[in-house]
């Protein structure tokens, strides 16, 4: 156990802080939430600055164009950018955190050369086409069908919960290349494809969330042709390829958010002092407890990163433990915020309610809490599967 930073890490942090201090004031104004092209341009601009400064793909391997930084350096990066209020990864999320790492791990040299550099430069945006209306928690039950026709797959089906579909260039798409049968269980017969979003037959329909915004879309696919060369990994081996991506999602994707939550908690304390509710021990102790809990979650993040560091970068099922604790704590944070604000929490001119609404997805998205508990119970604790 050693929570002190090396000289090298301290220097990395100092340089980054310096750069952020110079760069952030130069950024253009943030676009409005509904201005998708504007958001894409803004996110691309930020990514380009990171690229030029040598911070793009920090944790990607060097042979994939990344900087080969240690997980600890990556953690420092996420911590410092969040503290400084730098832009979120935004439209580049899937490219940098899902599709990119998948291609880096499983793609051919040609595929890496084609797809990775534009992601790092912020030139191309990816979206994710995994979930389907009938295949949510049971992702492997997906039905979108790809039929081989010469050098192409011809794809028909639909996808849901796709962020940034309106502005994406590419979609990391899971399709069924072999129908489920007695001989082929549902986890087999799936393939991973890179689909150009401007291909004929692709229709994007925005999906309005309970927060009133169109953060997601449904993507309808009607005989879309995708070259076989766009398949990453072997045919019918897409489930394994996907799991690489998903374990990234469950491992380190929440680092910045934990930092953000601790900042939120500070704002909450200030608000409670301002409106007098800090004097109510019920509320004060509730916030104290949350402060302790988010402190522990920040440490758990460091722990998971230490583990990832030791295992060569791929986070394990420990991410499920983190996600269960974090998603609950985050919802509790916004419940506490509502208690601090009282009736004022109902007015959307405050800053909290939209975050509270978003937080409702935390126990659902990227594997519901129920699914996470199954994973923890079966894969970590070794409890038997039910009949």
């Amino acid at each position: 156990m050693d929570l002190t930073y090396t000289d090298e890490e301290r220097e990395f942090r100092a340089r980054l802080r310096d750069w952020l201090g110079k760069t952030l004031p130069e950024l253009p104004a943030k676009p409005s939430p509904d201005d998708w092209p504007g958001r894409r341009a803004y996110d691309a601009g930020w990514q380009r600055r990171l690229y030029d400064a040598g911070y793009a793909g920090l944790h990607w391997p060097v042979d994939a164009g990344g900087r080969g930084a240690t997980p600890t350096q990556h953690l420092i990066f996420l911590e410092e950018t969040e503290r400084a209020g730098a832009p979120y990864v935004g439209a580049n999320f899937v490219g940098l955190l899902h599709a990119g790492p998948t291609i880096a791990a499983e793609g051919t040299a040609a595929q890496r050369a084609r797809w990775l550099p534009p992601v790092l430069r912020g030139d191309e945006v990816w979206c994710q086409g995994f979930s389907e209306p009938e295949a949510g928690s049971d992702l492997a039950a997906l039905r979108t069908r790809a039929v081989r026709d010469g050098d192409d797959y011809v794809i028909t089906g639909s996808k849901i919960w796709t962020s940034h579909a309106e502005v994406a260039d590419w979609c990391e798409l899971l399709v069924r290349t072999e129908p489920v049968s007695e001989a082929v269980p549902k986890h087999r017969g799936i393939s991973w494809l890179a689909m150009p979003m401007d291909a004929p037959g692709v229709t994007v329909r925005p999906l309005r969330t309970l927060a009133g915004s169109a953060e997601f879309a449904q993507v309808f696919l009607d005989e879309v042709r995708v070259p076989v060369a766009n398949r990453v990994g072997e045919e019918n081996d897409g489930w394994r390829v996907t799991m690489v991506t998903l374990s990234f999602e469950r491992g380190t994707a929440f680092v910045g958010e934990v930092v953000a939550c601790r900042r939120t908690l500070g704002g909450l304390a200030r608000a409670a002092k301002a409106n007098g509710r800090w004097d109510d021990p019920v509320l004060r102790r509730r916030l104290g407890r949350l402060y302790g809990e988010f402190g522990a979650l920040w440490r758990l993040t460091q722990w998971n990163v230490s583990e990832a560091q030791a295992s060569g970068g791929v986070p394990g099922v420990g991410g499920s433990v983190f996600k269960l604790a974090y998603s609950h704590a985050r919802q509790e944070l916004y419940d506490a915020a509502a208690q601090v604000l009282g009736a004022d929490s109902l007015a959307l001119d405050g800053e909290w309610m939209l975050d509270r609404l978003s937080s409702l997805s935390y126990t659902i998205a990227a594997g519901t809490s129920q699914i996470q508990r199954n994973i923890v119970a079966e894969r970590i604790l070794g409890l038997p599967k039910g009949r």
Binding site: L3, G292, E293, G295, V376, G382, L383, G386
Partner: protein, 304 residues
């Protein structure tokens, strides 16, 4: 080059394994149940063996005859003691090493006014009370925990007496709680895998599975907070570790009991020993509301 690394060093791992082996050999289930039937009476021989193994002198400098290790190693050792339900005023005697003669070697049993009132644990067998000039008189009272005899003293000292030891006492107690919380996960998982009802192990039912999963989540979050606090020696982190460890130990024992069903309600099962001890420890050194207030104060000062 070493980076920030939360994982145990080789030496820390060896230390933990050594303590686990020692306790498995010297304080296995038979010894535990014998302690229970003896009403928590201490085995002075075992106490001295713990002393000889460095349990109490762990953090004393080598120059002072100690082992010269730090709080990170101490919490690992106490975590093992919590797993094994090792009885006695372990924390108080550890804190007394170098302060009270004989504590470091396990020759003396030292308790403390760590319950914030007139109740003191193991007073009948204690040679000293940490920070008290002399051994106070007390009347024995029946204790909720069969492994923790209680006395009520006539005139308890001011709360300040144990204050100097509070942060460290809370942290070491948190370590005992974390050990217990991890142990009850194991007990629940083992029972869930063995006990069959409705034609399958009950651990195959989601209701049981999800209880166990949440137990692990609680224990792992508390354990992380504990280790971090041991490394940073930050008072807020120590308070957070105590708070989360108390919750984890109590809630896990409750859920473990639920998983065990009627069997968990029997004297023969160890579950109730974990629960009752967790209740005792939750009252020691720093109660939940004290920890919450301390954390709130830290939050407020960090937020301004």
């Amino acid at each position: 080059m070493r980076a920030v690394d939360f994982r145990l060093t080789q030496e820390q791992g060896d230390l933990r394994a050594g303590v686990r082996d020692l306790l498995a050999g010297r304080y296995g289930r038979e010894a535990l149940r014998a302690s229970v039937e003896a009403g928590g009476a201490l085995d002075r021989g075992l106490w001295r063996e713990l002393g000889a193994a460095g349990f109490f002198a762990l953090r004393l400098p080598e120059a002072a005859g100690g082992v010269g290790l730090g709080m990170p190693e101490a919490v690992l050792v106490f975590e093992e003691a919590g797993r094994a339900l090792l009885p006695g005023p372990l924390v108080a005697t550890h804190l007394a090493a170098g302060v009270v003669a004989g504590a470091a070697e396990g020759a003396a049993v030292v308790t403390a006014f760590d319950l914030g009132g007139a109740l003191v644990t193991h007073l009948g067998e204690a040679d000293a009370v940490l920070g008290a000039p002399s051994l106070p008189a007390g009347e024995p009272v029946p204790s909720a925990d069969p492994l923790t005899p209680l006395h009520r003293v006539a005139s308890p000292p001011a709360a300040a007496q144990a204050a100097a030891y509070r942060d460290e006492g809370a942290l070491l107690t948190a370590a005992l709680q974390v050990g217990s919380a991890l142990r009850t996960v194991e007990l629940a998982v083992r029972h869930g895998g063995e006990r069959e009802q409705f034609g399958q192990p009950i651990g195959a039912f989601q209701a049981v599975k999800h209880l166990c999963a949440q137990m692990l989540v609680r224990a792992e979050v508390a354990r992380t907070a504990l280790y971090a606090a041991a490394v940073t020696a930050d008072a807020g982190e120590a308070a957070g570790a105590k708070l989360l460890a108390d919750e984890a130990a109590v809630r896990n024992a409750r859920d473990c009991l639920q998983v065990h069903g009627g069997m968990g309600f029997t004297w023969e099962a160890d579950v109730h020993l974990h629960l009752k001890r967790a209740w005792v420890r939750a009252e020691q050194w720093r109660r939940a509301e004290e920890a919450q207030e301390l954390l709130a104060a830290e939050l407020a000062s960090a937020a301004t």
